[in-house]
């Protein structure tokens, strides 16, 4: 697996640690982990950093994950990095909205490392 820099966006610092742990357990070689506590903070980070994977929650204060994703796409900040939403929202409508906003993957909490692996690894494989 290639080394990669991941941006993890979640207002919960515990959940950011859990996601990092799950990504590592899924077999990803994380060179660098950048954390953001809100969508707004994540946009600021993306303006100056290059990442290979973005994992974001949806329900966050200040700016939620969908708005973050829309703005990241409109400002071309994601630079081709796949985006995976990890969230408690499981309704089909939420999934549709996330995919419409530009997410390539959607994982519902709670999740196992195997589920993270199955959703994330295919997005990182060379075409």
């Amino acid at each position: 697996m290639p080394e990669l820099t991941v941006l993890i966006v979640d207002d919960s610092s515990v959940m950011r640690k859990i996601v990092e742990r799950a990504l590592r357990q899924a077999g990803l070689d994380l060179t660098r982990v950048i954390e953001a506590g809100s969508g707004r903070e994540a946009l600021t980070i993306l303006a100056r950093e290059r990442v290979q994977l973005i994992v974001s929650d949806i329900n966050m204060p200040v700016m939620d994950g969908l708005e973050f994703l829309r703005q990241a796409q409109s400002q071309s900040l994601a630079q081709g990095a796949p985006v995976v939403m990890i969230t408690t929202e499981s309704g089909e409508e939420h999934v549709r909205e996330a995919l419409k906003a530009g997410a390539q993957g959607y994982i519902r909490k709670p999740f196992t490392p195997d589920q993270v692996r199955d959703h994330v690894l295919p997005l990182l494989s060379p075409a």
């Binding site: 919960s12 610092s13 515990v14 859990i18 966050m60 929202e89 089909e92």
Partner: protein, 161 residues
């Protein structure tokens, strides 16, 4: 009589959904079984409560309530790190556990999955407090055990779909 029976059946269904949600969260995120028990949560000197608001198709709140030992155990199992006491990380972890249980619980019902929104968690910790919920005609309380820890979940429903 029919209405009473229907309400009892509805309550039983909601309880079963909650039991499944709790088990799902603990088995997936903490690799431990968590099952309902008849024991009441023993009051400890210091306790912690996480509250998630529910709005939309269902109005109310879900409260996870337990002692500090249960909270620390959840935190350690979730993060792989052992907190040395009640701190911001423990409060955050308990809030997230309540958040995931609420999400898993409502996710079983397609109407609630799309139509019921969750608030961000609010966590209260201390040695002397009580939580009140106004206008909650329906109240469901369950106790759970994982490893040697007990905690409780209370669901306040103003109206349930």
């Amino acid at each position: 009589m029919i209405a009473v029976a229907a309400r009892a059946e509805e309550a039983g269904r909601r309880e079963a959904q909650l039991d499944r949600a709790v088990h799902e969260v603990f088995s997936a995120m903490m690799a431990v079984d968590c099952l309902p028990v008849d024991d009441s949560v023993v009051p400890e000197r210091e306790t912690i409560s996480a509250v998630i608001g529910l709005a939309g198709a269902l109005s109310g709140s879900m409260v996870l309530h337990g002692g500090i030992c249960a909270a620390i155990s959840m935190t350690e199992r979730l993060t792989g790190m052992a907190p040395d006491g009640l701190n911001a990380m423990v409060c955050d972890a308990v809030g997230e556990v309540c958040n995931m249980i609420a999400g898993a619980w409502k996710g079983v019902d397609p109407l609630l999955a799309s139509g019921c929104l969750l608030s961000t968690p609010t966590v209260v910790a201390g040695s002397s407090y009580e939580l009140f919920s106004q206008r909650a005609p329906l109240r469901m309380e369950r106790s759970y055990r994982f490893a040697d820890c007990l905690f409780g979940i209370t669901l306040f429903c103003e109206s349930c779909a």
